[in-house]
Symmetry: C2
Subunit: 341 residues, 2 copies
């Protein structure tokens, strides 16, 4: 299989090296084709994702992305070229409407969580975020001192993400909306309720408001199994939930749903403050590689091997700075590779 590798900006290239090493250690038939994306592509080509890179990505079997963006390309200009545009283009062009973010704090890292241990123990949730609709892709504009963005959803868009949520659940789905204010949320609730009744009657469904969800994620995180929600709410809640694990550096995410390749990336950003120091936590990126094996290539055994190697390496105590340790990116990568052999 042919993996499109988009290391991107900041620590992206540093952690990409780790993931490639680990993937090559569990699978001997992967080829990686690298393309610039985000700020790196803006510097080279004036656009966050070239047509050539997009064509190569579309022809690949799966896409592995590092991180996009950084202060160099930060701008508040309305019409400016921004690194994130690469991401939006990938999501839209590949039709990646379902962003899966598993949140499972590792016992070895319970103490890194800002939450009390008794609240974190046993947390194992999946956030299913709609990724190609809502405020991200609706009409927007600024004119005469007035700006607007539009949150839009169609029945078909809600149906497919609802199915993604129910399919991922064993027993309970929590649908999050703001139905006491938004028309999109009232439609959301109606469609999710219907899909549930018609197609998934054996799964429990609950509806909760986004403000209440933001509270409950902290107050009772074990309550949640699968959360399904629209794009912007999902962006906020999944980052909030990430914090339960103590560090963003650990978390992978998968964006699925198109007919072509899926996209796998760590949750963390480009981390300009530590770029170039060789101390970034590579685990989020390595675990993104595991998700790529599982969801992108259908290789469950290889995925599980990577995940278990990460668990074991952490149990033995290795930690990068974000987790209070002093290990380098290379040392953590070595520690994971060692568990694989």
């Amino acid at each position: 299989p042919n993996i499109a590798l988009l290391p991107g900006d900041g620590i992206g290239p540093e952690v990409a090296v780790s993931a490639v090493a680990v993937l090559n250690a569990v699978a001997d038939d992967l080829t990686f084709e690298e393309h610039p994306a985000g700020g790196a592509a803006i510097d080279l080509h004036g656009t966050a994702l070239t047509d050539e890179a997009l064509a190569a990505v579309k022809a690949s079997d799966a896409v592995l992305l590092g991180a996009l963006g950084g202060p160099k390309w930060d701008t508040n200009e309305p019409g400016a070229v921004r690194p994130e545009q690469g991401l939006f283009k990938l999501r839209a062009e590949l039709g990646l409407y379902a962003n899966l973010r598993p949140i499972r704090p590792l016992p070895a890292l319970y103490d890194a969580s800002p939450l009390k241990r008794e609240l974190i123990e046993g947390v194992d949730m999946l956030i299913v975020r709609e990724l190609t609709g809502g405020l991200y892709y609706g009409e927007r504009g600024t004119k005469d001192g007035r700006a607007f963005d539009t949150m839009v959803y169609t029945v078909a868009e809600i149906e497919r993400i609802a199915r993604a949520g129910f399919n991922a659940a064993k027993s309970r789905v929590t649908s999050v909306d703001k139905a006491n204010v938004l028309d999109t949320s009232r439609l959301w609730r109606e469609v999710v309720t219907r899909i549930h009744a018609d197609e998934f009657p054996n799964i429990e469904l609950e509806h909760i408001l986004v403000d209440a969800a933001a509270m409950k994620l902290i107050a009772a995180p074990r309550h949640f199994e699968v959360i399904v929600t629209e794009n912007m709410f999902g962006d906020i809640l999944s980052d909030e939930a990430s914090m339960l694990t103590g560090s963003l550096g650990m978390l992978p995410t998968a964006s699925l749903g198109g007919t072509g390749p899926s996209l796998f990336e760590p949750v963390h950003g480009s981390a300009p403050d530590i770029t170039g120091k060789g101390i970034a936590n590579p685990i989020g990126m390595i675990l993104s590689g595991a998700l790529l094996l599982r969801h992108g290539l259908g290789r469950e055994a290889q995925a599980a091997a990577v995940e278990s190697a990460v668990d074991k390496a952490l149990e033995k105590g290795i930690r990068t700075g974000d987790l209070g340790g002093t290990a380098t990116t290379a040392e953590v990568t070595e520690a994971v590779l060692k568990e694989l052999t």
Copy 2:
């Protein structure tokens, strides 16, 4: 002074009694005029706030609200009458564009927080939420299986809420937006930056993205002094931040900015599960009374007296069920009253 009292639904009327008792104990010149609102008004008059009640509210010196809503009036019908409409009407008709939510966990209750004690100690932040713009008041609609809501902001709306934020700050304001996606956020960032440079150069200003803010509120809550943000982000983040204190039951909020009376209410909802049992925590409502004295009537000494009575009563150990105790609403109210005499 004439206080418009809107007890509303669920536990609203129960905690309203407590607040009135405490207010009467510190001030002997208040009159309370009661009106139904929310579900109570829907049952009586078919509307969440009658014109008569609105007129009385407008003629008052300050408004004290309990809680609106409940399962009885929950509906997903597009055109239906909903209790929240009473709230939206009050906010819009009174021009209450600034919602102030102080988050200051009490030392006596540090252990009630889901967060580790060392993260909570010394937290003292104020969230300033824009309350009459954004997705709440923009155009919306549903047609042919497609729904939309519009997030709209004008320069003037951003200027006045930015000023409210800077005026409330001693040293730092954190402005929260999603400027990497939304045009409203890019305008927001531009205007806040200008107001800062022109009018508040001695206050430190930082911009952070809403997803990062959702993380940092948990990971490093002490970082924040004043947060200023748009309506929907403020709704989500302020409820998230509420959880730092361990219970919503403790928290008051003030909605200000109009030329007429301001509105004071507890953060908690109508709590249908404990309605009628006499066990609701009245402290959020009592402290809303303190905010009413301070911001509504300009009576700092009386406000401080109420707040200190609450602190003392809690230090002596009294707790309702939400805080792990067994005290009733009446017992907590008595305990606070005792500290006032």
